[in-house]
Assembly symmetry: C2
């Protein structure tokens, strides 16, 4: 590599970063992609890991493997802690400073607890594989604890109190966006079908699932027809949907919704995200959600060599509201930023980002979904199938697509979930092995 | 269920416990199977998880799901802490006491650090999914750290010291039994093939792999011909085999072999197992390995209603030495104990256990194995294929067999490993998310 080859540093190996790096294939640049994790995560299927349908390896790919055949990309497992925009360095937690000629920041978002970070430990969110495995552990463990306590009570000649049973088998999902809707549908399926016949002292079909949403409808931002369809389908699955309801407190085993106190052994946070703290380190204006207010060409004001894409960027859509934090804006933004870097290198002007809206969708349990694609509003099985094939098509790695499709077909026929494992349980691990 | 139905309690959901419980299908007994974990683990493939070839969900099945269609089995997720043999209770960590009429203890074994339990944190063993994921994390992280430090050194205008590079890319596997041999072969493949072309500053093919064995040959107990073949094949894969070598100390980043000091960033313990501590809680004679010296019918001396099977039982084989701690003795022992319980219930005498030796095998990387089946001694690809099909045939769940076979075929053709994820890394998790 010539020392004069421009060096592009990309921060983040999500949809934005991966697609930016890919767009530099065979171009005369040297790319360094930095991520805290060694894998790219297919975030839209993360809730499937949390609900034991898929294994982590099926929705994640090592970033290095993705770029094996693209020799101008180097991958660095490191934690970025800040930037020196004037000196053109990226700073890392181990004290490193990485020079760049062009910088693309695609650091994504994290769960937003709206100032209540103390709720994080009680109500985990769904942003990483580790969090998904934590949620999976909590869901599965709730039934195991109920069975064990019911048996112990019986051995003492009494019944497990209704109060304790209600607590253990109540799941509250906070946030009625696509993630919350998908989680609620999947948990309902686990309770009504997957676990059927497996417990002797508790009845999993008596599980209570509450989906709590602050705005007046689920899937806020979707057309009312699809939102109503989602609500109706969740009702049929036995999910209690509470719209216009604000969570005012989260405690161990308890959620307060407005003035009401709901006992709940398992609480899941899907109430929204906030842009990565790295946005603030750029020293440029942010919006209320912590997103960087980029120029129309995705650069940062005053730094035409620095781009921000994906969930970390506030890019106004057609309606003036920022584009949603889903895969498509990140994928398209990453590619666009790379194209603008290449234009600059060729002495051409940068072009303002044009987002092509491919629609939106969500699924609600087995065989049912809602989708809005251009003028089309689709529900039911057709939406579910569209969702399935689009998501599998975008999965990285042919083998993963094959395995995920096989596993899905199997689960669809049998209601079985292949990854029902309780792992990483520290309390058990730290005891003397039996 | 009638109150007079005999109650069989089985401790442990490994090969012994699962097979004992299955043998009670449609019999007039009530079975309670207790395990600390919610899943049955297919232990022979655990090293495949540690070396990123398979996902945890592919070699483990929820115990409840296994017994869904066997209504006389109830499954309890609990930790057994002791026994009251005279009062016929099993004691659990949460203070429970479970009555039994018949007890089958199949609590298995754990890693044996031969009095050096302080080595456990430095050199993890391979007995649970969590340990396998820990080893996977250590192996993958070694290369990531080397790449990052090499890049940082270069940014400072120097090269990473040879000493540090040697340390990071040296893997020491302690113990040359089947697990150690299989681990060494798999790590060699990762280094020479899987990671090829993915790093820009370090060369994974320079990985040093040491397999240290105390006795004069690998696969101690196998015929000399197979042991020699394993050694030769490991040499060809670039593994340094040290037989008649005793590990005298393990420290952070360092192993002492006899008087020699070897720098090693990753140390894996495969040097042997010790029976579960639950054996000692039975108050009966144990052998040197902590195993219960059972009667020929697998009962405990003085307690004809209590059976011990699997790795926890010292059952003499034809040569007078205890049967090895592998799947077959546990499977056959579990079935036999159940049959003896049923004989007792019918008023028939218990029968002494007869073990049918089906042979032994190990694989050494891709497409090579050794097997001894009756009078046959087989090496190379044929042994590998036999190993593959026997292990897949014994996997629980048709879907798992299908997925594992697909994944294996894929890995064989491409050298790719599908589960190369670094997860559960607390140091990264506890930082503020980027």
């Amino acid at each position: 590599m010539q020392p004069t080859t421009p060096h592009v540093v990309i921060v983040g190996g999500g949809f934005g970063g991966i697609n930016a790096a890919k767009a530099f294939a065979k171009q005369p640049v040297r790319v360094t992609l930095i991520d805290r994790r060694n894998h790219h995560l297919f975030q839209p299927l993360l809730y499937q890991v949390a609900t034991a349908a898929l294994s982590p390896g099926q929705i994640a790919a090592p970033i290095r493997a993705i770029f094996r055949r693209q020799p101008n990309v180097e991958v660095l497992l490191a934690e970025v802690t800040g930037f020196d925009l004037d000196g053109r360095h990226v700073l890392t937690a181990d004290g490193g400073a990485i020079d760049y000629d062009y910088l693309i920041v695609a650091a994504g978002a994290r769960d937003n607890y709206f100032g209540h970070d103390e709720w994080r430990a009680l109500a985990p969110g769904l942003k990483s594989l580790d969090e998904a495995l934590d949620i999976r552990r909590r869901i599965l463990r709730a039934y195991e604890t109920a069975e064990r306590e019911a048996l112990a009570a019986r051995a003492d000649g009494r019944e497990l109190s209704q109060r304790r049973l209600d607590e253990l088998l109540t799941f509250v999902i906070i946030g009625g966006g696509p993630t919350g809707v998908e989680m609620a549908g999947a948990i309902a399926e686990i309770a009504r079908h997957t676990l059927r016949g497996e417990f002797r002292y508790v009845d999993p079909s008596r599980t209570r699932i509450l989906l709590v949403e602050g705005s007046p409808q689920l899937l806020n931002g979707y057309p009312a027809r699809l939102s109503n369809e989602a609500t109706a389908r969740l009702h049929r699955l036995g999910v209690e949907v509470r719209t216009s309801s604000i969570v005012t407190d989260v405690r161990e085993g308890e959620v307060r919704i407005g003035e009401e106190r709901v006992l709940a052994g398992t609480i899941i946070w899907a109430a929204g995200v906030r842009a990565s703290d790295l946005g603030a380190k750029l020293g440029v204006p942010l919006d209320r959600g912590g997103r960087v207010q980029v120029e129309p060409d995705l650069t940062v004001p005053g730094h035409p060599e620095v781009y921000v894409v994906g969930d970390l960027a506030a890019v106004p859509g057609k309606d003036g509201r920022p584009l949603p934090g889903v895969a498509q804006p990140a994928i398209q933004g990453g590619k666009w930023a790379a194209a603008n870097v290449l234009r600059t290198m060729r002495g051409e002007p940068r072009k303002p980002f044009r987002y092509v809206d491919l629609g939106r969708m969500a699924i609600i349990g087995r065989g049912a979904g809602v989708a809005e694609i251009g003028p089309l509003k689709i529900g039911g099985l057709v939406a579910w199938l569209i969702w399935l094939f689009i998501h599998i098509a975008y999965l990285i790695g042919f083998q993963n697509r094959l395995l995920v499709l096989t596993q899905w077909a199997w689960s669809y026929v049998t209601y079985q979930r292949a990854a029902r494992l309780i792992t990483g349980d520290r309390s058990a691990r730290e005891r003397v092995p039996v």
